[in-house]
């Protein structure tokens, strides 16, 4: 935690309030304001200002300016009060974090600065920390895991695995004059790294998505052309995705926040996934499918959509009922939903339903075109999406998650670099090692730093070095 950097974070819960507060603290506060072309006097006070985000001075906001040491943290600080819009807020924070010396604050960072500056007592700081942790049940569990040492053990195991791989790469750099030392083949290294990435993924959830959210995730799943996208648009109340009668129109995963318009129900994220049974060979499609699977793994509620119509419009109710009565391993259901995780709450939706015919297979029949039963569906979502957050969903507290995610990014860079290498022989070992070192440093932020000496020690342990 380098002192002298500047931290930025959203200070209000996402999604609900009409205004959002972004808090900035640290010596680069002025630079941060300048970067948004916010022009306010350099003194304590509240100022109306316009920031340049998409165009010149297009975003009105209220800026509260604090000068060190008269602020919550004791540092130069500012608070920006602006219209609540997740995309906008994320964009703004991303832009600020691209400045040298500015980074996203981990949970509790403002309070810990306040504590260190003598502005808060330890008891007060702990009170704040507890409150932060208590905002969701899952983060309380994550905090418990940290306290019990369980999370640290995991990070240590990952760091250990990575250190071993790094030692094998470094051995091929620093000890090539030793007859005994052979460089690790690139395919073996790639396998080792992929295995590690999978472990990190399991802990952090899908990092492939650019969006990150604490809202429950509701996924629309089903065979191609089951009407998922039509339902998606209907729930959102606008045409977010293109729909056609052609099967497989939706190729990408689309996630949108959905306000359920039900009292006391916070918003959820609604994901429209491409049909999962496409035996595609297209690389782009394969990627989308992987992405979809990852989203699915993380979902809190799955809306399993089935159409009662054939593509040609003929009725297939009888067919469907026969399939389900036959057995669970019936060919079509098995292929279509082989990838659907069984431990996630699921609602079977009959789409394109004719309201005059009862549907024996679905929990709910809806008609997206005229809105029939859509409100019932919203109530179902509200009832199921919040109760079922999986126990291991937030395995990591936010700071650990951020570092684990960064570690993963470097590992992926290393794998990409390796994938560009046709030979089994490891090329550019020093660049690969650089990525692994950075990844290890990030894991080290959780477990404690692993020094080069420890890496070199592993080499001595595994090779006869010294001629």
């Amino acid at each position: 935690m380098p002192i002298g950097d500047t931290i930025v974070a959203r200070a209000t819960a996402p999604g609900q309030a009409r205004r959002t507060l972004i808090r900035i603290s640290g010596p680069h506060t002025e630079d941060a304001l300048n970067c948004l072309k916010i022009d306010t006097p350099r003194r304590r006070g509240a100022f109306k200002a316009r920031a340049s985000v998409f165009g010149p001075h297009d975003l009105p906001m209220l800026v509260l300016r604090f000068m060190a040491p008269a602020s919550y943290t004791g540092e130069d600080a500012a608070e920006l009060l602006l219209p609540a819009n997740d995309t906008l807020v994320n964009l703004l924070i991303d832009r600020l974090c691209s400045l040298d010396g500015v980074r996203r604050a981990e949970a509790g960072a403002f309070s810990s600065r306040a504590y260190l500056a003598g502005k808060l007592s330890l008891a007060q700081a702990e009170g704040v920390a507890a409150k932060i942790a208590a905002e969701s049940a899952s983060s309380l569990r994550a905090a418990d895991r940290v306290l019990s040492g369980q999370a640290g053990d995991e990070h240590r195991a990952w760091a250990d695995q990575l250190a071993t791989l790094l030692a094998l790469v470094e051995a091929g750099i620093d000890f090539t004059d030793q007859e005994d030392v052979v460089s690790i083949p690139s395919d073996r290294l790639r396998d080792g790294l992929c295995e590690l990435i999978d472990l990190l993924d399991a802990a952090i959830g899908p990092v492939h998505t650019s969006w990150s959210s604490d809202r429950p995730l509701v996924a629309l799943v089903g065979p191609p052309n089951a009407g998922k996208s039509t339902l998606f648009n209907a729930l959102l109340g606008r045409d977010r995705v293109v729909t056609t009668p052609v099967a497989g129109t939706t190729r990408d995963v689309i996630v949108e926040p959905l306000d359920l318009s039900i009292a006391n129900a916070p918003p959820v994220d609604l994901a429209d996934l491409p049909g999962l049974d496409e035996h595609t060979t297209d690389v782009v499609d394969q990627d989308a499918q992987r992405h979809a699977t990852a989203i699915l793994e993380r979902a809190d509620l799955i809306l399993l959509c089935q159409s009662t119509q054939h593509q040609d419009g003929t009725d297939r109710t009888a067919e469907l009922s026969q399939e389900t009565t036959e057995s669970a391993s019936s060919a079509s259901e098995a292929t279509v939903f082989a990838d659907v995780p069984t431990h996630i709450a699921m609602l079977r939706i009959c789409t394109k339903a004719d309201r005059h015919l009862p549907s024996p297979l679905a929990d709910l029949s809806v008609c997206a075109r005229d809105g029939w039963h859509l409100n019932a569906l919203r109530r179902h979502i509200a009832a199921h999406a919040f109760g079922s957050r999986r126990a291991d969903e937030s395995m990591l507290i936010p700071r650990h998650k951020a570092h684990t995610r960064s570690a993963r990014t470097f590992l992926v860079s290393a794998v990409e670099e390796l994938t560009n290498q046709p030979d089994a022989e490891l090329l550019d070992a020093e660049l690969i090692a650089g990525f692994l070192r950075e990844a290890l440093d990030h894991l080290g932020e959780v477990t404690g730093h692993i020094a080069p000496d420890a890496i070199i020690g592993r080499i001595f342990a595994s090779f006869c070095v010294g001629k």
């Binding site: 935690m1 020093e430 660049l431 070192r437 080069p452 070199i456 006869c464």
Partner: protein, 655 residues
């Protein structure tokens, strides 16, 4: 007692000592013909001796030699003048991790180093053993100040050598004890005495000493080896020198500088040799196992910790018991003698076991052992007691360099000698500290590691110790360090230094010209930088493009490496900038860790022991976490504020 006065006294004539004296002489210049630097050594005839492997450079070590050279040091010049086989290691790897190395004619090397030292009017070589360290205490100063040494000349006469700066480079000589089997002989090197007085003097001053061990293999008579029957080990077809000054000394010699007599106008200077390879056998491994009780390393006779990267043959046989054979490289030690160095079987086993090991090696059935291998144990000063300048934290003006700080290797020693030599002069003449950063040089990594790590074995440099190794390449050592050398004043006092300055200006101009020529260049519509970045694009390809002989090879290498590593280097610079503020923040000397109860015990102990100079150093101490550092900065701020309130109570020198 006769008394002599100097600006700097260097104790020890090994690779650290000569580099320290050389750097000090470069800075001080010739002051009216009177020597300003004393180099005190037990036997002046053995200055610059290669006690062990007659080789310079290698992986990461070659980078150190290039850096010492870029700073006006002597190691690269001597190695170029006396190398008998040059080879760049890791040629199949990227430019950052290649390691220039040479086999040296060990007698020519020592002779060349000695003649360079003797040619300097600034340096007086004193053959004597140092018996006492002279210190003084000044009123109001907590720390003692070094005042000089008391030395016994070889005639037996005691003399007093006075100086405000003393550099100790005792190598393996402090309470040196050599082991061959159960035989123990006091001494730092075969046939030479140990230095006993200095250990006692240092302990008396309050230093914590440690004990290390290193070993050396048997030497064979080449005429008794079936040389031609063994597989060859060849050097590079086109040898590459360490120094950019190699083969450039002809023009200089006309200036009449006698220093240059040892250097040459051609490269390589000496005839090049071929090494041979053989191996140990399973039968001799059995003999070793049967005799482990007679091996000082296993019998408990040796207390010091040895290097894991250079294990003795008995160590290898025990640790890798399923191996039936270990490779041995037979390296001629000199063009003028018959001696061959057996690289790979360093040992302290008894002589009869050494006989068996050697005679079991193919080609060596009738080999005569000219000198048996031995292990040597010696005292070191645990390096948490020095600053990154080499000056001790206990005695002002006292500097330590080389194996006394727990390192091994000629190159590591030379690098520390240079750092200590420069800082000793700046200590006496009032310049600021000379400390290279970890992102500037392997020398910076070395000094920083020494002051932040607890050594468990003799410290050796590896490229993996340098987190910014893409920046610290052998090709750009001059770009990184020669301007610094010039600013320090290392280049202005000699013809050699001025020649470096001229060469560097040429190089800089060529690099600029080549960058301009390549900037925005497209070949068949493709961005040339992308073509250059491909693995397999070599200097030869670039030469074809820009034309032969228009640029120095070193210039091509640097521009190629810059393009190749471009995006990665950019990222490293960003991360260096991010960390720089904390990295260089000084921790004031008045900070008392024992009065900071909120620090975790482990952190407080580490900080109290090492007393780091900067927050950057503190961050690399084992047992200090990022959270501890944050707390420390706050406590420092609070302590300063309190100090300001109780003005006068705290000697706040600011930071």
């Amino acid at each position: 007692m006769r008394t002599h006065q100097y600006s700097v006294i260097v104790v020890g004539g090994g690779h650290a000592g000569i580099e320290a004296a050389w750097a000090a002489a470069n800075l001080l210049g010739c002051d009216g013909g009177m020597p300003t630097v004393a180099l005190v050594t037990l036997d002046p005839a053995r200055i610059g001796e290669m006690s062990c492997n007659p080789a310079i450079g290698g992986l990461a070590k070659g980078q150190l030699v290039r850096e010492v050279d870029a700073l006006g040091g002597m190691m690269g010049l001597v190695a170029d003048a006396t190398g008998i086989m040059f080879k760049v290691l890791n040629m199949s790897r990227g430019p950052a991790v290649r390691g220039p190395r040479c086999q040296s004619d060990k007698h020519a090397y020592a002779a060349c180093a000695r003649s360079l030292i003797l040619a300097r009017p600034e340096i007086e070589v004193v053959g004597a053993s140092v018996e006492r360290l002279l210190t003084s205490s000044r009123a109001g100063q907590a720390l003692k100040q070094i005042a000089g040494v008391e030395a016994q000349l070889r005639s037996g006469e005691l003399v007093r050598l006075e100086s405000p700066a003393v550099i100790l480079t005792t190598g393996t000589f402090m309470r040196g004890l050599m082991h061959t089997g159960q035989d123990k002989t006091p001494g730092g090197r075969f046939g030479e005495d140990a230095a006993v007085g200095i250990s006692g003097a240092l302990t008396h001053l309050g230093f914590e000493l440690g004990r290390l061990k290193t070993g050396t293999p048997p030497r064979l008579a080449r005429s008794t080896i079936d040389w031609e029957s063994l597989p060859e080990q060849l050097g590079d077809a086109e040898p590459v020198p360490f120094s950019d000054l190699a083969a450039r000394c002809d023009a200089l010699r006309e200036t009449g500088d006698e220093m240059l007599d040892g250097l040459s106008s051609r490269f390589p200077v000496l005839e090049q040799v071929v090494c041979r390879q053989t191996r140990t056998t399973a039968a001799s491994h059995d003999v070793i196992r049967q005799n482990l009780d007679r091996a000082p390393l296993f019998s408990g006779q040796i207390e010091g910790a040895g290097p894991r990267y250079c294990p003795s043959i008995e160590d290898k046989v025990v640790r890798f018991e399923d191996r039936e054979s270990h490779g041995v490289f037979l390296e001629p030690e000199s063009l003028t003698t018959d001696w061959v160095y057996c690289n790979g079987i360093s040992t302290s086993l008894p002589k009869d076991v050494q006989d068996r090991i050697v005679r079991d090696m193919p080609g060596c059935e009738r080999a005569e052992i000219l000198r048996y291998g031995y292990a040597v144990e010696y005292d070191m000063v645990r390096p948490h007691q020095i600053h990154a300048t080499g000056m001790t934290k206990l005695v002002d003006g006292l500097f330590l360099a080389g194996q006394i700080n727990g390192t091994s290797g000629y190159e590591e020693a030379a690098a520390q000698g240079l750092v200590a030599g420069v800082n000793a002069v700046r200590w006496t003449t009032g310049g600021g500290e000379f400390v290279l950063r970890r992102d500037q040089a392997y020398i910076g990594v070395l000094m920083d590691d020494l002051v932040t790590k607890t050594p468990v074995e003799p410290y050796r440099m590896f490229t993996s110790r340098a987190e910014h190794r893409l920046l610290l390449r052998p090709d750009n050592a001059a770009d990184r360090l020669t301007p610094i050398a010039d600013e320090l004043g290392l280049l202005g006092t000699t013809d050699l230094g001025r020649a470096r300055r001229t060469l560097f200006a040429e190089r800089t101009a060529q690099i600029e010209r080549l960058r301009r020529q390549l900037d925005g260049l497209k070949v068949e519509g493709e961005d040339f930088s992308l073509i250059m970045r491909r693995a397999g694009y070599t200097r030869e390809d670039l030469t074809v493009l820009v034309g032969a002989d228009t640029f120095n090879l070193g210039v091509l290498d640097t521009v190629l490496a810059e393009v190749r590593y471009g995006p990665y280097i950019e990222r490293e610079h960003r991360s260096i900038r991010r960390q720089s503020e904390m990295e260089h923040k000084r921790i004031p000397e008045w900070v008392r860790y024992d009065s900071m109860p909120t620090l975790r015990n482990e952190a407080r102990e580490a900080l109290s022991r090492f007393r780091p100079d900067t927050l950057g150093q503190a961050s690399r101490l084992e047992g200090v976490t990022p959270a501890d550092l944050t707390l420390l900065t706050v406590l420092m701020r609070q302590a300063r504020n309190e100090g300001a309130r109780n003005a006068g109570d705290v000697g706040d020198t600011g930071s």
